[in-house]
Amino acid sequence: AQSVTQPDIHITVSEGASLELRCNYSYGATPYLFWYVQSPGQGLQLLLKYFSGDTLVQGIKGFEAEFKRSQSSFNLRKPSVHWSDAAEYFCAVAPQSFQKLVFGTGTRLLVSP
């Protein structure tokens, strides 16, 4: 079955430390890939997206993600986390054959001082 998996429900990172959030997908072909962030009481905001080309994608707020076809992964990274990055992060995919975003269950990021 087609699915999006975010294996980490919660992650705690110290401020200034690096961050990697995992996302794996299960689709027959390479789908379109997205990362969104949701801050408390707010809607989702697009951080970055991958359609094709360079497998390292740069996004807003200093985030980047790397598409690895062999691992069916699209992990989100940030070299130095700020307290304001505390939020919930969602990976989403869209099969190229039809238009519908499918979201993972999210990873809640906590930033410790």
Binding site: Y32, G43, A94, L101, T105
Partner: protein, 115 residues
Amino acid sequence: EAEVAQSPRYKITEKSQAVAFWCDPISGHATLYWYRQILGQGPELLVQFQDESVVDDSQLPKDRFSAERLKGVDSTLKIQPAELGDSAMYLCASSFGDYMTYEQYFGPGTRLTVT
């Protein structure tokens, strides 16, 4: 900066009652989406409009949910009757065109609690 507006932000209703949510997309955005986000899960698309036409409502429980976008601008999502399992965040999003090319902008959501 233009934003997607939603109201109300919070709604508490008793089961079997009717409830309605309103969304005003960013001006000029032809595509409008309604998502449901159950606590601990990611958003799930309920319905997608292109102007006033429904493009995808395959996940909309049509026995109790309805959505309209009569003039191709703002939209209303209705639940009648509400059930306990409908408690969730209802998110509206809009985009200039199809989301493959254009970013979806999300509103703050309406949190529904059914008692």
